[in-house]
């Protein structure tokens, strides 16, 4: 967040600041006064346009060939029937119509929404709670922070997905512990009502990275506010709700957006844990997993492209909705 605002600030300063060296360069050669009057600030800078585009050559090739081109191509493919071998057939809105009647599509939507709506709030809740506990001058802070952060680095790997399969297996660690309390369950991964929760737990387990962002945000809250409120007799709980939370809302918002976007795109863990099927009974059929199955297992590239575009629109809509709602609860100081 801090970086987002600062980028805006420096952005605004840019033209003025860069005007100077450009002017100095050209006036040095002429040996006279800076050519102020007639040239607009942008007109005098045209000279750097060529150099800039040399620097930007890799970026431009990438932007056109790897990003923008494919983005447009997948939009076009979304309206075709294409199996990678024959030429694409234009079929209008057929892919979208098929989607509306595709039970597995709706299963994927359901699974992904549950995953986003359950795992993201839980993850952020843990992250915020531990950030607050760790914040104020605790001995060994960096040690705890490291221990909590480690899972975030490992969580996306196949190795951890393999571990998860064993932990939640029929004789895994989790069932062992539940056994002490007399609860007997079979393998979580074979049970359609439990399989998704193992992946939710896995995502919550990686709360370390939002926690680190929260910790950085907590540092920005001025100590004087707490001191002043203590003089006014505010207790611990009161201070948390009236100072910490309101001043942290921009960071909570940032974390919410980041984690939501990444949760919508979860793939690896579901693919490994379910063995690529999204089972049992499609209970872990993440949206991206279904795109993969349609596109790269069935080679139904048109349909998969249409699905990908729906995902893009949903993520964009969810992000926009968050921004709109954020005006009601995110506090940006001096308003």
């Amino acid at each position: 967040m801090m970086t987002l605002t600062s980028s805006k600030d420096t952005g605004r300063r840019d033209p003025g600041a860069t005007g100077a060296p450009g002017a100095a360069g050209s006036s040095g050669a002429a040996g006279g006064k800076p050519p102020r009057g007639r040239t607009k600030p942008s007109g005098g800078t045209r000279g750097q346009g060529l150099v800039a585009h040399i620097f930007l050559l890799p970026w431009m090739i990438g932007m056109v060939g790897v990003t923008a081109g494919p983005l447009v191509a997948s939009l076009v493919l979304a309206f075709t029937d294409y199996d990678l071998l024959s030429t694409p057939q234009f079929i209008g809105l057929d892919n979208f119509v098929r989607m509306a009647g595709d039970e597995r599509f709706w299963a994927a939507v359901r699974v992904t929404l549950v995953y986003v709506l359950v795992s993201v709030p839980l993850q952020l809740g843990f992250a915020l709670f531990l950030a607050v506990v760790l914040d104020k001058g605790l001995r060994g802070l960096s040690l705890y922070r490291s221990a909590f952060y480690l899972p975030s680095l490992l969580g996306g790997s196949v190795a951890i997905a393999i571990l998860w399969r064993q932990i939640f297996g029929e004789n895994g660690l989790v069932n062992h512990v539940l056994g002490w309390f007399g609860i007997e369950l079979g393998s979580w991964l074979q049970d359609p009502s439990l399989a998704l929760s193992t992946l939710v737990v896995l995502n919550v387990w990686t709360f370390g990275s939002p926690m680190v962002i929260f910790l950085a945000g907590l540092r920005q809250i001025p100590e004087e506010l707490y001191e002043a409120s203590m003089i006014d007799g505010a207790g611990r709980v009161r201070r948390f709700w009236s100072i910490t939370i309101p001043l942290l809302t921009p960071i909570i918002f940032l974390n919410l957006i980041l984690q939501m976007i990444s949760a919508f795109q979860a793939f690896t863990q579901a693919h490994v844990v379910s063995g690529g099927s999204g089972g049992p009974l499609d209970s872990t059929l993440f949206y991206t997993l279904y795109i993969y199955q349609r596109g790269f297992v069935n080679f139904d590239m048109g349909y998969a492209s249409a699905m990908a575009w729906v995902l893009l629109l949903v993520i964009a809509a969810a992000t926009a909705a968050n921004f709109i709602v954020s005006r009601r609860w995110v506090y940006y100081g001096d308003e």
Partner: protein, 281 residues
């Protein structure tokens, strides 16, 4: 930092107890995996403690050769792609970031906005046409589809990180160099790049860890076993689970995590700072 006067000693102690219990709860599965990798497969699930009754290196020996080729091949492939990706990102993102942060040209704002927008773009919207393109060019079962995009500045997060960093450097440095007659390339190479070291290190760490963990790319583009990276090799161990057993899977999984843990231990400062300033995971 000293404990603030309002926090009493018992309160500090309870806080530590709660935290330690929580840490243990979180880390226990990892510790259990480490210990289990040294146990005979048939004992792993029946023993949930951390003290094995029997210690063996068999899992490592079996796992190493379980896929026909020695596991060192997959580690080497992953290392090659990791290092290549790091070089690609350092090269392309720093060039791009310098131009966007320092050079003065008409489109610079538009380009930066475009770059930032691509950070939000879900990978799946691009991957199908990319696959079709790379397949057409005959690049399936080569590392080109995995490496080339890195040399074309497609990891926009790092451009953002570097732009932020370059903007924090005083412009007087550029101006001084310019007065000495240095052009943009000289300034980039001898002034900006050396000062960007922290941003370059952060980029190196995250690029390496992400490509090391990357599963989707290799899953799509690599179908021949001898080209596999570690994640896809591990997945095929899972697919042959009944023959290989839990122990070998754990052993090889642990090996695959070693580089990440090493980065975590030795470069933590940069990792923490990178997340705190850009929100990368």
């Amino acid at each position: 930092m000293a404990a603030s006067p309002t926090t009493s000693v018992p309160r500090q102690v309870t806080r530590h107890v709660v935290l330690v219990v929580f840490v243990l709860l979180m880390i226990y599965p990892l510790l259990w995996m480490v210990v289990s990798s040294f146990k005979p497969s048939n004992l792993i699930l029946s023993q949930t403690g951390l003290f094995p009754s029997e210690v063996t290196l068999e899992n490592y020996a079996d796992g190493w050769d379980a896929l026909g080729s020695p596991f060192s091949l997959f580690l080497g492939n992953s290392l090659l792609i990791g290092v290549g990706s790091v070089l690609g990102n350092l090269f392309s993102c720093s060039l791009t970031a310098y131009a966007l942060a320092r050079l003065n040209f008409r489109m610079s704002k538009v380009y930066l906005a475009l770059t930032l927008m691509t950070i939000m773009l879900p990978f799946h919207v691009l991957v199908i046409p990319q696959y079709i393109l790379f397949a057409d060019l005959g690049w399936i079962n080569t590392y080109i589809p995995l490496l080339l995009p890195k040399f074309l500045a497609t990891d926009a997060v790092f451009i953002f990180l570097m732009v932020q960093f370059i903007r924090s450097l005083p412009r007087e440095l550029d101006q001084a160099a310019m007065i000495d007659g240095a052009g943009p390339f000289r300034i980039f190479w001898s002034v900006i790049l050396p000062l960007m070291q922290p941003a370059l290190i952060t980029t190196t760490i995250f690029t390496f860890i992400w490509t090391w963990n990357d599963y989707f790319g290799p899953l799509l583009y690599l179908t021949r076993t001898e080209l596999y990276t570690v994640p896809v090799a591990l997945k095929s161990l899972v697919d042959t689970e009944t023959q290989s057993g839990i122990g070998t899977m754990f052993a090889m999984s642990l090996l695959s995590l070693v580089p990440i843990v090493l980065f975590f231990i030795f470069a933590q400062r940069y990792i923490i700072k990178g997340i705190a300033t850009t929100g990368i995971k």
